[in-house]
Symmetry: C2
Subunit: 439 residues, 2 copies
């Protein structure tokens, strides 16, 4: 019986600058071979960086021909200082151990600066196209976004929760819900962790969840995914929408400064400059409608909702007036917000809710929730919904809940807007839409 | 147009010891009122702690009767040093602002040391029973487990990924898969992120995902959930099972030391002592069968799989022999492992895989994967499976993958074993089993 001591984990990469003049071993995938006169550049793709290697017949103990792009290797190489290289050093190849070879060279070229192809092809070949340096950087940054948020959450007393994705009732109800058979019972996929995070406010006061949500929306647009990652937040002892907006603004600031600190290389590679977020303007919904109508020289249309075009227009207007790429829109009409949204006391036709728009796109919906049992039951009944269908959700209200509110941030939308993409699919590893179940 | 500056987030709790002699305001839920002669103890449940408050008619400006258990309040109180109190101080109540009241007192008593009821009732009333101090501590610790793992992952170069839970093929295949209609196409819920994490090894080298997985298993046992949280890990440039086991052991050690550091109070409350994890014994599958048969004075039965009873027996044996609560079982028979598992070169009837057993229960399955395209296709064909059905998965193999492997850890099982529960449902906020879709 032998034992595992768990005393080390192999490194993924070596910081070359600490090993100049030394001979090291380094593993990675041969990203690109560029033959020059008398020598060759070989780019080695490692976990986080791409290293420039130099192959010369004088130094190397192997013929260049044994190297194939996308083969996985361990190089033995000398580290040589080289200011013109991105890493400040390059690797002069001495020997190679070939660990694996591709079966064939991918039809899609992935080792140019960009993957030069249509969005459909980019997504169809995701397992391969994600290997492109820029494509993978998108998801490194996305990891930075969630880590940045998590640091904030831990600091401010939020507990992370894992709530079920299969259930017997939908948070928003309606047709936009995936149905399934669950051992002979009808079940639904969660459109959001709304009910559960509210229940959990009664337990931990502040909770968050970063998890998939499912929407059976028949929207075939550049903004919609049928499965996406929702950053859900809920906090107790909150009695104003402003506290929620303050919290989100703080969250975003913390996250951006974490990105700036830890993801400088990826941001530079994608030529992304982080927004200089100082403060976020707040405009009530009705005012937004007015401003946009004025800009368009038209009447106010659809007084209960914002069209995507209106979201774009108001963002442009705010950007021009204040320099901000973000704007909070508040006081949405009651009719278009879910049944758990708290109404304004003075104007019950309006809600104490908000959306956050970023560069023309809604990335967050939030608001105060009804915490009083009788108020919630009355509201359900006014909407013609049956309180009995929400018995386990309402159990929390019956037993007493603090005043509370929260928000949900679409991770892919936030990533996509930050990177300046026109289609949210670019910010999802393996997007799901009406037509796409693969890869 | 006013602006949100995002410059502060309200605190959840105050460290009493820093405010002795001061009058503070603190919000929370009235957990328990205990009337004594001439005064009363009022326990206030805050985000993470429960504070002892003292009500006396001399000091308080309000009658005790306005306080109801599970009402949410803001207390104005003087902080008084008190060594007999768990927090080293208590709160002498001066005034109260009542934020909300429960509609009714819960039928299940939640403010005793334990919720004294059946498991079924405990789960049926989860939105309420989770408010019990011990019940909620379980999920604080669970948050500590995932945070502990994440710290390890960040340190050792793992990138977090979010992979789709709706897809067109199952990783393990078979009957244990939930089906659904996806815009007229048949789709499945992910049994694991197996395919995606392997694809992503070709992109980021090391990846992890902590996300829900779905198993339509008709197992009505204390060990099974039909939806659970899987901590999935995959790493490239790994050519031995030992490296995977080393990594998991290191992960567990890091996580336990994080728990010890950050969750001392919760662990003490639940009377949990963390395992003193130094090293983990490794025993090949065939040897386990032999040892257990010897203990039972019986022949070796079912030579291809371990029964739950055998997992318990071998754990007891290892505990007696070595003191370890963990044991790695290796070299599982090929027939019972999924098609992507790498076989042993010398003994193709055995796999280069492992399970980790903890106190009698399997909490991890892992192993090396087949990375060579032709080898994987041949294996699928040998099993009578159609490689065409796995085209997008195999795209990664065709394009070249490093030797790699990984593991999946069941978060609820790990939590449940650590806390010494006999039923894994105790470690799931809102468990899903064959009979339970609510709450």
């Amino acid at each position: 019986m032998y034992r595992i001591t768990g005393s080390s984990v192999p490194v993924t990469e070596t910081n070359l600058l600490e090993h100049i003049g030394e001979v090291i071993r380094i593993h990675g995938s041969v990203y690109k071979i560029r033959k020059m006169r008398g020598f060759a550049f070989v780019l080695l793709r490692c976990a986080k960086h791409i290293y420039q290697c130099v192959y010369s017949e004088e130094k190397a103990k192997f013929p260049l021909e044994v190297l194939v792009e996308e083969s996985c290797v361990i190089f033995q190489a000398e580290v040589v200082g080289e200011e013109r290289s991105r890493m400040g050093a390059e690797l002069h190849l001495i020997d190679v151990e070939i660990l694996s070879k591709p079966y064939e060279i991918s039809q899609v070229v992935i080792n140019q600066k960009e993957v030069d192809t249509s969005l459909a092809t980019l997504l169809d070949y995701r397992p391969v196209t994600l290997r492109n340096e820029k494509e993978r950087a998108v998801f490194r940054i996305q990891n930075g976004i969630t880590d940045g948020f998590r640091i904030f959450f831990r600091k401010y007393g939020f507990t992370e929760i894992h709530t079920p994705k299969i259930g017997s009732a939908g948070a928003e109800g309606g047709a936009n819900i995936f149905r399934m058979d669950y051992f002979g019972k009808e079940a639904y996929l969660a459109q959001s962790p709304q009910f559960y995070k509210q229940m959990m406010v009664g337990v931990h006061e502040r909770v968050f969840e970063i998890a998939p949500v499912f929407r059976a929306e028949k929207h075939d647009t550049s903004r919609h995914l049928n499965e996406y990652t929702s950053v859900d937040v809920e906090m107790g002892y909150v009695t104003s929408v402003e506290t929620l907006m303050e919290t989100e603004t703080y969250m975003l600031k913390s996250m951006f400064s974490y990105l700036k600190e830890e993801y400088e290389e990826e941001l530079a590679l994608l030529k992304v400059s982080l927004p200089d977020l100082q403060e976020i303007p707040v405009i009530p919904f009705a005012k937004v409608k007015e401003i946009v109508a004025r800009i368009r020289h038209s009447e106010v249309t659809d007084p209960e909702d914002l069209e995507p075009e209106e979201e774009k227009r108001i963002c442009q207007w705010v950007k021009e007036k204040t320099g901000s790429e973000f704007v909070f829109v508040t006081e949405y009409p009651e009719k278009k917000r879910p049944f758990y949204t708290m109404e304004s006391k003075e104007h019950p036709e309006l809600t104490r809710s908000f959306d956050l728009l970023y560069q023309g796109l809604e990335i967050t919906t939030g608001g105060l929730r009804i915490h009083n049992y009788e108020e919630q039951v009355a509201k359900l009944q006014r909407r013609g919904m049956r309180p009995e269908s929400f018995a386990s959700y309402l159990m929390a209200h019956r037993a007493g809940l603090p005043p509370h509110g929260g928000m949900g941030i679409g991770l892919e939308r936030l990533t996509s807007q930050l990177l300046g993409y026109s289609n949210v699919r670019r910010a999802s590893l393996f997007p799901r839409d009406m037509h796409r179940l693969e890869p």
